[in-house]
Symmetry: C2
Subunit: 518 residues, 2 copies
């Protein structure tokens, strides 16, 4: 029997209430202690989970328990059954994908928001949830030095969503309807959306959801010589070709900090092209936008003043736990016109006055969480100066890592470091030298780097992921986990070097001969 | 200066880490204590926030603070500035909209999930997040006595999303693409979606987002005599009319527990009609689906076995904090075919084996939170028996309230109570008697009920909301807040009676004459 005093036979009204304050306090302390211990012992766990598919179904009962279990039992089960199946995104040795940077303030903000558990679809449903969001979004606009047109005082404004996917789907739908209202609903099949071959996959997925025909998705090619950034002249050619075919250019996603290499598209020149054709430009700065609160990195989003919307994921690199995507738009009315609903059961006097923001009309869904609370707590708890230094420290660690890579001739930097992401690989010359060969196919080199990465990840001491650009398999080293310090980076590099020695060693003629002799 | 030891001039690496375990523990206790006190004192706050639009901007600084503040200061600010702007959904006196039922286990599950802060887009990114979700969704299917075809062992399966809006947009997009693949992309403008005039507004919003032409939205009329449920013959007529006009029936949303009155559409007969035309049927049981884990209420979703998908919002009435929508589908491949992405940077061996679920392909977005953890903790912490009794206790309280309403001749029940929602109003005869009139226009009666509702809500002792069906303004009394007990319901009813006396009293000829004399 657990900690709850449940008497099945008596009136249901005599059960201990699931929100009983003292029981909550007791169990709350237990969970806080559990997490504190988790953070303390994080480095003992393999970063990438080592379990096999289906591991958990073997451990858990086939159906739900009928009787209650105590929090103590549950926490033990989490330790035994859940933690082995986690990939530890909060580990200081986590360098995979992009970070998911947690913090005490972000996590406790999330706890408070979940504790209040308000559903802030419109102003009256919890005025603080709406108003704090408008204020914090203006603070962020200011920290990012966005033009006034993206703030509430400039008739624009910001809204918090779950992910960039939602931000893109929202803006693409708003842009689409502005066009359909002008040209008629049947023109939907003529609308064209543009990105580069480095644009995040969620863009085209969102376009597809919005009913844009997949034959009208343009993934414009980028090249290594241009650091995988989208060239305005390539965009212009693509648009012109579509116009000749009777199609209608609708939407461009320009990216600041692509997923593969953190490449930066030139916002100003791209917007200049897009505006010639009255297209909506969305700037996806999911990862790198966070760092642009540092004045010395702000130039990376120069030109954003010409875009229609801009978003970044605070849950990636702003100490704000998952999820929190910040979307700024110049013309909220375009969203509201397309997404507003006004059923009787939501009507209220505040909405009628038109003096309030009802965020349900700025987003895809009705229900919404009180995300601004954690963001506000992160900003207050750490302050702008600290947040900037926090981001700088990661960029500095990436520079430090990059310098170490450059010093080892077996490796090469595939594209110049951008923000806190280093893209590197074992280079051809190292393999050629080690194997005594004269020539190495790109595919073979990719195989070796893939083997190196898997060799490292499978041990679980650090975790990195890869990408493939222009046929080049590269290893991504993304600094950004909150707990990462310089000595972790030093350690990671040593480990990478050791594994490279092993992987390359296996290929040396001596070893190949000796293994053949065995 | 706050609790953080920030030395601006020194190396950024010497700052206290924002995930420092002991600092986290200290601040964590403070937040737990704060919430425990909040739950204790909840009844002291006005349920519906009493602030005026713009209240918060007057109180907060115009820009973000540069220096850190202590958690103590922040919690004081929350008490002073945020709490007055909250509408207290966790108050035992909250009867508005539908509930947002929190609990210790749900909230602490959310805290743990945010603490791990994993981004479980695919299996490898955190196997436990994916596997626990598949297991818990099967548990829920079992608790709801859903057919095996909605479970993983029956080649269907469940997925957790934020809201019903996402569930509907996901399924409508999957259904749409199945049709577009068959009939060609240009047929998008011919696709028709069906619901009733009681269907939640998010359905048509989702259809709009998915590119379905608003001229092809059918909101089929329901009537009071049929308790506002959608009649299969009305659906059939609408479909036939569309077919005659060369349109293509695509999608039906059948609702179990509508927002206005918790009306129940007859699933079996509606599915029979829809299946004749190969339509996708989604069952939206956002609110009432929760209660269907009680065997005696399960008949409300009879016929669900013929539908293609089914969803309910566990954050509404399942002790699982916002957000958590549980979607079950029979054919996950329809989702995956439409929504899957496979960029290089997400490729991994587990995905290649096709032995794992990658939930990113079952939903709109890429990033996803570890929602199953809180659901698993709710089920374990309370057990199925308790959960059923918890739901029953709310239904019982609604019955108790309904009985009291029926005993007071000034009131009428507008539609028979369904689940834990009572829809009532001051009746015409009461107003006629009190005013000494012979006839009362419906509009006047609506005005009086609207005035009564606002009179009650503005005091802040309890909070209810309204709807309008068939021109009838009704007051909704939705029992479901976790802390609500019988004595709260008794109190609410007394309060309603008192306000009715005042509102009606103002209309008695005596008072009208006396106020004219003043």
């Amino acid at each position: 029997m657990g900690s709850l005093d449940i008497k099945q036979e008596s009136s249901p009204y005599t059960m201990t209430n699931p929100l009983d304050p003292e029981e909550f306090r007791k169990q709350g302390y237990m969970v806080i202690d559990f997490l504190a211990e988790y953070y303390k012992s994080l480095e003992e766990y393999p970063v990438r989970s080592q379990v096999e598919p289906g591991y958990l179904r073997k451990r858990l009962p086939e159906s739900a328990p009928h009787k209650p279990e105590s929090m103590d039992t549950i926490l033990k089960d989490i330790q035994t059954d859940i933690i082995p199946g986690l990939t530890h995104w909060q580990s200081p040795n986590y360098y995979a994908y992009f970070p998911s940077s947690g913090s005490t303030a972000g996590l406790l903000g999330e706890t408070l928001a979940s504790g209040f558990n308000v559903v802030g679809f419109n102003w009256i449903s919890s005025p603080a949830a709406t108003e704090l969001e408008t204020i914090v979004m203006d603070w962020l606009a200011n920290m990012l030095n966005l033009p006034n047109s993206f703030t509430f005082s400039g008739n624009g404004g910001g809204v918090m969503m779950g992910t960039t996917c939602e931000a893109i789907l929202t803006t693409i739908t708003a842009a689409r309807d502005t066009f359909l209202n002008k040209y008629g609903p049947d023109t939907i099949s003529k609308l064209v959306v543009y990105g580069s071959d480095q644009t995040h996959c969620s863009f085209f997925k969102s376009a597809k959801i919005a009913g844009i025909s997949p034959s009208n998705f343009r993934t414009i090619k980028t090249t290594r010589s241009n650091s995988y950034s989208l060239l305005p002249e390539s965009l212009k050619s693509a648009i012109e070709a579509d116009l000749k075919n009777g199609l209608i250019p609708l939407f461009l996603v320009a990216t600041v900090g692509t997923t593969s290499t953190a490449a930066v598209d030139p916002l100003g020149p791209l917007c200049d092209v897009a505006k010639e054709y009255n297209m909506w430009v969305h700037v996806d700065a999911a990862y790198a936008g966070n760092a642009c609160i540092c004045p010395e990195l702000r130039y990376m989003i120069n030109g954003v003043e010409k875009a229609d919307s801009f978003s970044f994921n605070a849950h990636k690199w702003f100490l704000t736990t998952l999820d929190c995507c910040c979307l700024f738009v110049k013309n909220p009315n375009a969203l509201v016109r397309c997404l507003s609903t006004n059923p009787e059961y939501l009507k209220n006097k505040a909405t009628d006055t038109q003096q309030v923001v009802d965020y349900k009309d700025w987003q895809l869904t009705l229900s919404r969480r009180f995300r601004s609370l954690k963001m506000w707590m992160v900003i207050k708890s750490y302050g702008v100066d600290y947040l900037r230094n926090f981001l700088r420290s990661h960029v500095d660690m990436a520079i430090y890592f990059e310098q170490m890579v450059k010093k080892d001739k077996r490796f090469e930097i595939v594209v110049p470091r951008s923000f806190a992401l280093v893209c590197f690989r074992v280079c051809a010359s190292a393999v050629i030298q080690c194997c005594g060969q004269k020539f190495l196919e790109e595919e073979k080199l990719n195989e070796i780097n893939s083997e190196l990465l898997e060799s490292i990840n499978s041990v679980g001491k650090i975790y990195m992921t890869h990408s493939l650009v222009d046929g080049i398999f590269l290893i991504r080293f993304a600094v950004g986990a909150t707990l990462t310090e310089v000595h972790h980076v030093t350690y990671a590099w040593k480990l990478i070097q050791e594994h490279a020695t092993i992987v390359l060693g296996k290929r040396s003629p001596k070893n190949i001969i000796s293994s053949q002799c065995e």
